[in-house]
Amino acid sequence: MAPWLASGFIYASALALTAGGITLLYMSTRTFNFAHASMATCGFYVVYTGCALYGGAPYRYLPLAFLFGALLGVICYFGLNRHLLRRGAAEITLMMSTLGYDLILLSVIQMYCDYLTFGLRLYPRRVSMSVYDFELFGTKAASIILPLIAIVFITALHLFLVKTKFGVAMRATIENPVLAGASGINSDRVYMTSWIIGGGMASLGGAAMAMAMTGTPVMGMTTIPFMFAGAILGGLHSLYGGILGGFVVGMAEYAGVFALSKQFGPWVLGYRMGIPLLLMVFIMLVFPRGLAGIPWAALFGRLTGKKRGVSA
C-alpha cells in the first residue's frame, strides 16, 4: 500500500469513529460535543503513556483508551449535561457547556504533559506514534489493524443497537423521549450510555488518529473541525451517516490532496483542510440534510425497479 493511502485509511477510520460519536451524542442529547477534541487527545495520551512507560504495541492499550473516554463522557453527563437537559436548555447552551469542559480537559492535558516532560523525562508534546508500530504485509500495521478495529467496533455497535433490548430502547429514546419514558425506559440510563459510547469513540478515534499524524496536546483541538465536518456531512440524524461522513472527509483530505499535489505541485499540501470543507459546503448546499438525507433508496430503488411503501 502506498504510504499516503495507508495514512489515509488510518486517518479516515479515526474520523469515522469520532464523527460517529459526535452524531450519536447529538442525536440522543441534542449536544454538539466540543469536548470531543480533548477526549480524542486524552485517548491518544492514554496509548502514548502505555507505550512509553510499559512498552508493547499501541493496540493493546486501545481498550484502555476507550474506557478512559467513556469515563470522561460519564463525568460530562453527570456533571453538566444531565442538569442542562433536565432544565431543557437550548442547543447553543448545551454546546457551550461542552466547550467549557473541553477547555478544562485541555488544561489538564497540558499539565499532564508538563508532568511527563519534567517529572518522567519524556517528550510528550511532539509524538510520532508510528515508531511504536510494526510492519504487516509490507505496510504499516496500523493501516490494516485500525480500519479493522473500526469496522469491528461499528459492527458491534450496530448489533447492540439492533439486536439487544437496551439498544432498541436507545433508538426508541432517541426518536421519541416522551413515549419511551411512558413505556418505562429510563432516559437517564440511555443518555449515560450514549455518553459512554460517544466518549469512548472519541478516545478510540483520537488514539487511532495519532498513528497517522504527529500527536500533540492540541491534536484534538486542530482536528475537531474535520470531526464536525464528518458529522455534518452525515447529516446529524443517522449514526451510520455520521460514520460514513467521517470516513469520506478523512479519505477526501488525504486522497484529494495527494491527487491535487501530483497535478499542481506540493504547494497544495498546505491547503489540505480546504478539501473536506469544500466537500462539506457542496454537499450541504445540494443536500441540506447531509449524506443520510440523500434519497438513496429512491435513487437506487429506481435502478432496481423496487417499489417503496406498499401500503394496505
Binding site: 447553543i92 477547555l103 499539565m111 473541525p225 464536525f228 455534518i232 483542510m273 480546504g274 459546503v281 450541504m284
Partner: protein
C-alpha cells in the same frame, strides 16, 4: 390572570446599576494591585480589555441581538488583521517607489522595508493619522466583505450547522494566511508600519488611549443601534423568525446586515490588535483566542447585554493576568509536581463557562427586556383588553 405579572416584570438582574459601579471599583482595585508589577503590565491589560471588548461586543451583536450562532468570530478578526497587514503598508510602499508586490510580504524584504516606512510615518503627523484611519477603514471593509460572504450560507443553514461551518472557515482562513506567503508573509508573518511612531516617548500611552476611544465609540454605536428600529427588528428575528417574517421583516436581509456589521466591527478589533503588536502572524489568530475566549467573556457578562459584555471582558482578563502574573506565589503546590501553573489559564475559562452555564444562565448583567409599550399599559391591556377609545396600536411595533 396570574400569567400577566410574569411577562411584564423584568428578569431579576444579578447586577443592577449600582452594583455595576461597585464592580468597576473592584476592577480598578484589582488593576491597582497589579500596578506594583509595573505600569507596562497595567497598560497591556487595558489594551487587551479594550480590544477584546470590541471583538466580544461584535460577537454579542450577532449572538445576543440577532441570534446567529457565530462560532467563527476569528474569521472576521483575521479579515481585519490580514487587511491591515497586507494593504496599507503596500500602498505606502507603492507611493514611495519601494517594492510592493508579492515580494513585500517576503520576510527578507519586509524586515528591511517596514523600518523605512516607519521613518516616513514618524516624520509626519498628518500621514500617520491618515495611515491609521486607512488601516481601520481597510479592516472594516474587508470585515464587512467577509461578513457578507458568511451570510450566504447563513440563509440556508440552521443553528448548529451554521455555527460549525463558520468555525471551520475561520480555521481555513488561518491556514490560508499561514501558507500563502504573498498575503501576510506566510509562516514568518509581516511587520505592520507603525502609525504611532510619531509620538516618540509616549507610544504605549497613546496606543492605549486610541484603542480605548475606538472601543468607546463602538460601545456607543452598538447601544444606539440596538435601540433603533433596526435593533428591534434584530431582536424580533432572534426571538421568533417566523412571526418576524409574518410581520413583513425580510429575515435574510436582516441577518445579512447583522453579520456584515458584526464582522466589520470585529475586523476593526483585529486591525487595532495588529497595529498595537506591530506584526501579523497567521498562527497568532487561533479559534481558541479569538472565538472561544470572546464566547466565554460574553457568557459571563450576559448574552444580549452590551454593558455586561464589557464587564465580563474586564473581569476575566484581569483574573487571567492575575493568574499568569502571580502563578508561582498562588499555585506553588503545582510547581512541586513540576507543572507550570500557566495552564490554569484555560482551566479558568473552562470553569467560568461551566459555572455560568450551570448557575448563572443569564450572566452577570441579564438582558434588559424593554416592552415597546410602558408596563402599566401592557398590564391594562392584558386585564381589561384594549381600550376602545384609542387605536389598538398607537406606536409602530418596530
Amino acid at each position: 390572570m396570574t400569567g400577566a405579572e410574569g411577562f411584564i416584570s423584568k428578569p431579576k438582574g444579578f447586577l443592577p446599576r449600582r452594583e455595576i459601579m461597585v464592580a468597576i471599583i473592584v476592577l480598578a482595585l484589582l488593576i491597582f494591585l497589579l500596578m506594583n508589577r509595573g505600569m507596562p503590565l497595567v497598560l497591556t491589560i487595558l489594551i487587551q480589555i479594550a480590544i477584546f471588548a470590541i471583538i466580544t461586543m461584535s460577537l454579542n451583536f450577532e449572538v445576543g441581538y440577532t441570534g446567529i450562532p457565530q462560532f467563527g468570530r476569528v474569521l472576521a478578526v483575521i479579515a481585519g488583521a490580514f487587511a491591515v497587514g497586507a494593504i496599507p503598508g503596500r500602498l505606502l510602499a507603492m507611493f514611495m517607489g519601494l517594492p510592493w508586490g508579492a515580494s513585500y510580504a517576503n520576510n527578507a524584504v519586509n524586515y528591511k522595508l517596514v523600518p523605512q516606512l516607519n521613518e516616513v510615518l514618524a516624520g509626519s503627523w498628518l500621514l500617520s493619522v491618515g495611515f491609521l484611519l486607512l488601516c481601520l477603514l481597510m479592516a472594516a471593509a474587508c470585515g464587512a466583505g467577509i461578513g457578507w460572504l458568511m451570510s450566504r450560507p447563513a440563509i440556508r443553514l440552521k443553528e448548529a450547522y451554521l455555527g460549525i461551518s463558520m468555525l471551520a472557515f475561520g480555521d481555513f482562513a488561518m491556514w490560508v494566511g499561514h501558507n500563502w506567503e504573498p498575503l501576510v508573509g506566510g509562516s514568518t508573518g509581516v511587520y505592520v508600519p507603525d502609525p504611532f511612531r510619531v509620538v516618540y516617548g509616549a507610544r504605549f500611552q497613546v496606543v492605549v488611549i486610541t484603542i480605548f476611544v475606538f472601543a468607546l465609540l463602538i460601545y456607543l454605536f452598538i447601544n444606539k443601534l440596538v435601540k433603533s428600529p433596526f435593533g428591534r427588528s434584530l431582536k424580533m428575528v432572534r426571538d421568533n423568525d417566523v412571526s418576524a417574517a409574518a410581520a413583513g421583516k425580510d429575515i435574510v436581509k436582516i441577518r445579512t446586515q447583522s453579520l456584515v456589521v458584526g464582522a466589520a466591527l470585529a475586523a476593526v478589533g483585529g486591525g487595532l490588535w495588529v497595529i498595537y503588536t506591530g506584526t501579523v502572524t497567521a498562527f497568532g489568530f487561533s479559534r481558541l483566542v479569538f472565538t472561544f475566549w470572546p464566547w466565554a467573556f460574553m457568557m459571563l457578562g450576559g448574552i444580549g447585554s452590551n454593558t455586561g459584555v464589557v464587564l465580563g471582558v474586564s473581569l476575566l482578563q484581569i483574573l487571567r493576568t492575575m493568574i499568569t502574573t502571580y502563578r508561582f506565589q498562588l499555585f506553588g503546590f503545582l510547581i512541586a509536581w513540576k507543572i507550570d501553573p500557566i495552564h490554569l489559564d484555560h482551566m479558568l475559562l473552562g470553569v467560568v463557562i461551566v459555572v455560568v452555564v450551570l448557575f448563572l444562565p443569564h450572566g452577570l448583567v441579564p438582558e434588559n427586556v424593554e416592552p415597546v409599550l410602558p408596563a402599566n399599559r401592557v398590564r391594562r391591556v392584558i386585564t381589561d383588553g384594549l381600550e376602545p377609545s384609542k387605536p389598538a396600536v398607537n406606536r409602530p411595533l418596530s
